[in-house]
Symmetry: C2
Amino acid sequence: MVQPLVLPFIHAEWFETPAVVVHRPTLDRNIARMAALAADAKVALRPHVKAHKTVEIARRQRMAGTQGITVAKLGEAEVFAEAGFRDITVAYPVISAVKRDRLAALAARARVTTVADDLEQVDLLARMAEERAVTVGLWLKVDTGLYRCGIPTAEEDRAAAVVSRILLWEKRWREEPGGGVYFAGLLTHAGHAYGAESKEEVEAIAESEGEQLAALKKALQMRGLPTPALSAGSTPTAARVSKVPGISEIRPGNYVFNDRTQVRLGVANPEDCSLRVVARVVSRPTPDRCVIDAGSKTLALDQGAHGSSGLEGFGVVCGKEGLRVTRLSEEHGVIERPNSRVELPRVGQVVELIPNHACPVVNLTRRLGVVGEAGWEGWWSVDAQGRVE
Amino acid sequence: MVQPLVLPFIHAEWFETPAVVVHRPTLDRNIARMAALAADAKVALRPHVKAHKTVEIARRQRMAGTQGITVAKLGEAEVFAEAGFRDITVAYPVISAVKRDRLAALAARARVTTVADDLEQVDLLARMAEERAVTVGLWLKVDTGLYRCGIPTAEEDRAAAVVSRILLWEKRWREEPGGGVYFAGLLTHAGHAYGAESKEEVEAIAESEGEQLAALKKALQMRGLPTPALSAGSTPTAARVSKVPGISEIRPGNYVFNDRTQVRLGVANPEDCSLRVVARVVSRPTPDRCVIDAGSKTLALDQGAHGSSGLEGFGVVCGKEGLRVTRLSEEHGVIERPNSRVELPRVGQVVELIPNHACPVVNLTRRLGVVGEAGWEGWWSVDAQGRVE
């Protein structure tokens, strides 16, 4: 049975629901574990802050030992740069004039790297860097099986062509003073691990993720193209991929919270899930159905990550084994009991849920409640919430 | 072929994507049509503003002729009250002391009605109204087949018991000066219409929605319990239900935008869809796949409304028949072409999409771009975005 971490510390009648709440001791333990894992494996830890979008959490990660942060969007990068983060990987293609402009402004005040997977993009970014007299590191984005962005690692010719182009611009930058781009290395995200059926499958994907990078690095070396670094590793794959020789850094994000998906994958236990949704029963129209005030605008409709759909329903009701969140509309969650011996909560009672996917839940809320060992500690602002542009 | 409404008016290189944009002439036409429909049927139009959460749009609805607004959450009600709306139905159970407190504050500055579906809740709201010297109208929330909140209309004894209790409190309020509650009528939301397979099925649900209300009203009258009003009607069911004798008001929301779900239900044509998502192609790693910068944090994962799943994929790519949005992760949308003769857009190009469900898309953005007949008109703030509490 999954224990509630938050409910013991709140006064239900006066607690505003729905609320997204972090159990800070669990969060800190998750942060420390990943930092230790990276230190043991001698890889850099560059956490993906899109998982939490919260400056306070990124500070805690930094205290535990990190080497910069990863973001998905420039809007996120700008928020964290403003908060004093000075080493940022924008792990997302920067396309369009307006975004190159913003990247240049960011690079003027922080060490910035970003990704590229085609020649034209490399040229546009390099010219921007020269014109604006800023320096930007470029990772070759490679695809290790997610089939989303990036050049498949098996397509060595295509990869070599883009890397050669980056190195050409890098040579120019090294020879002339001013701005330019340099080759940062190979970067991948094996998000297909989220669709795995078992812990063993996750491990196999992680191993393949690392070995594909190492093999491509070797192939590039054979062509005289040196690869400075290999960046890989999400929350499910970080532990295994960090042991593959040659891997330089890992970029997990979700691990600060964990969620029902990580539990399903065998990567975390329910008690490692630091993010909880507190919702109130607002109606109990029949003995077999109650309705809570957390719907898809709070819990999100994800049944996995990356569009995977390994989970049934929309969250775990802590301390209430046997209850199922069977349906969500925007402001309503329907809880049913497949087993009639399980008692449904009454109208007015609060319940605590572990969401399927923590990241979109945080993106839907402006603030995170914080509970510590001794009780309520206040609110953290989700500083980069909704900064999708 | 669905035509783009927004793309002709933007400069792609300098347009920030992803962006949620409203085609104002289409929006205004949708608003006028529903107002005319309500006027013709001689029912009040009390639009559900949770669909757009935008004060500017509610003002346009008011100009076209409405009788107050409907909201789902107190947070939304507070935003619209602040903007000068003085007749508000909170069509959501108000449970907990903290929310009753906020309801009282709201009722002190606007005409407020809300819903109840159990005796204890009626007593709590009535005592709050007396103590705080405010007046609140109470609708009996009834269930016409959505199986979410509300007393099923067939359970006349239960309905009569709650209505009797409301009328008891109303009597006391009428006899003594000060605050109290009164019976507003019967209210339902036939959201199961969103799961219908055909226009005919939608019509049948709409008819049943209205007739169930009328039948329950009659049953209550037989017990000496007068029902002042009958409130029903969502975007798909409004036209039909407003013709059922006795229906007093309709509460559609989505109609201002329409979306792929309304098109699927036969309620709107693609050219009636005023809400569009503009996204950019950020990668085209293979000839059969491109990736856009609108993922689930922009387009939302809905494949219908109310958890229905009648749609394939995650949106219509306007002007590009044959392309499919096959997968969404948080910041990436994957577009594929099942038919190899269809050309995929290139990196840097922008595409315009009609989302599956407009309401969550608007909830995910802080602002709506506005395009008029002559081009770009600026931004509207989504004032009540994320006000789920």
